[in-house]
């Protein structure tokens, strides 16, 4: 049995959809990370102005920022990995195969 191959336009569009979804996650996570960071900055700025808690707050601030970078960075990393896998899957799935 010969399966009908997807047209070049159909395949191009499928790859385009994959790329667009990846872009949405990439840019979306970066935007949310920026908002998250700027919002947290305000709180830490208030704490930094209070001498008894300024020291510990600085430590918590550094830990928070590191966690933030790690979490959002891992989201983007997984997103790119999924995108790469999907590209391979689409390439393979759109090849005409014979049984």
């Amino acid at each position: 049995m010969v399966r009908r191959a997807m047209t070049p336009t159909g395949k191009k569009r499928l790859l385009g959809l994959r790329a667009l979804l990846e872009d949405v996650v990439e840019h979306g996570s970066s935007a949310v990370e920026r908002v998250h960071r700027e919002t947290a900055e305000r709180t830490f700025a208030v704490l930094a102005a209070i001498p008894p808690v300024a020291g510990p707050a600085r430590v918590v601030h550094d830990v928070h920022d590191a966690a933030l970078t790690g979490v959002y960075g891992s989201i983007r990393l997984v997103n790119r990995a999924v995108g790469a896998v999907l590209t391979v899957v689409i390439e393979e799935a759109t090849k005409p195969d014979r049984e």
Partner: protein, 313 residues
């Protein structure tokens, strides 16, 4: 299924089509003639196969923002193109394009496409009628502007242009959106700036609609002020073409016409030449009360007027 995908791609391209082109995304629609939803290559063989009964008079139909040529479809498979073919012998050529690109770019691309078609069309083209809906009318004007500058061979064959619900003086909704976006960005809050960022993702084509910017230099001059354009804008109507304007209005009430027009384009924008000193013969301007922006590209009443204009010598 294919039709639904085409409609979805039309919307997507209108929203972020410029981004799709910048990122070389396969979802970006290239400008091309379409017939029954399929692209028609601008080659002698493809055009001869697609238009076996091609006539020397053609009508070029250009859709609006976030549409495809499907926007012209009426019940029963008719549209302005097929009706003009049956009644007056015009061959309809439907253009599909990425409405998210700058209007100037689409105009230049359309001019180039028409130049190509002129050379490979099955029979010698005697007359080209231009018919644009909403943004499509601005694309047509940008195309004639580009053609006039480059001396394109198709332009002398254009005797009449029909603009249906075209915002010649811009669309207020986009201008309001521009101001709201700027206000949100001015507030020193990360959440409002995020909303402004999302709002500013809208395409260049959509932004061009605000002031009906037909040239790149018009886009560069864009300001936040909600004012009418300076005297140099819009691009003047070519005197060699007979221009005909159709506008819709939700009702015949003066205040409704003034404020809302057809719900998207104010009547003053769709027919606004007189206020810009470009007086048109009143017989070439028609306002349809009770006609919304969605209804105006597929109305038998509007068609009757278009037919009359096309039938005139």
């Amino acid at each position: 299924m294919g039709r639904k995908i085409d409609l979805a791609l039309g919307v997507l391209n209108g929203a972020v089509g410029d981004y799709l082109v910048r990122t070389d995304n396969g979802l970006a629609l290239p400008m091309a003639l379409h017939l029954h939803g399929e692209p028609v290559a601008p080659t002698p063989a493809a055009l001869a196969a697609a238009y076996p009964e091609a006539t020397a008079r053609v009508v070029v139909l250009v859709h609006g923002l976030m549409n495809t040529e499907d926007i012209f479809a009426m019940p029963g498979g008719r549209d302005y193109g097929t009706l003009l073919r049956d009644d007056l012998g015009l061959t309809p050529l439907y253009v599909r394009y990425n409405s998210g690109l700058p209007i100037a770019d689409n105009g230049a691309a359309l001019s180039a496409l028409l130049s190509t078609i002129l050379g490979v069309y099955p029979v010698p083209i005697g007359e080209i009628v231009l018919l644009g809906y909403s943004m499509g009318g601005l694309v047509l004007r940008a195309a004639t502007h580009a053609a006039a500058l480059s001396g394109a061979p198709w332009l002398p064959r254009v005797r009449r242009a029909l603009y249906v619900g075209t915002p010649h003086r811009g669309a207020p909704t986009e201008r309001v959106g521009r101001v709201v976006s700027a206000l949100l960005r001015a507030i020193p809050d990360p959440y409002t700036r995020l909303i402004a960022d999302v709002a500013d993702l809208r395409s260049d084509g959509l932004k061009d609609l605000g002031d009906a910017d037909l040239r790149h230099e018009d886009r560069a001059r864009r300001t936040l002020q909600v004012t009418l354009r300076d005297p140099q804008h819009p691009v003047p109507l070519l005197p060699s073409i007979s221009h005909h304007l159709v506008a819709g209005a939700l009702s015949d009430e003066r205040w409704v016409r003034t404020l809302f027009g057809d719900a998207v384009v104010p009547v003053s924008s769709a027919t606004g030449w007189r206020s810009l000193g470009e007086g048109l013969d009143p017989s070439r301007v028609k306002v349809f009360p009770g006609m919304s922006h969605a209804a105006i590209p597929r109305s038998l009443d509007v068609y009757a007027q278009l037919r009359q204009w096309c039938a005139a010598p």
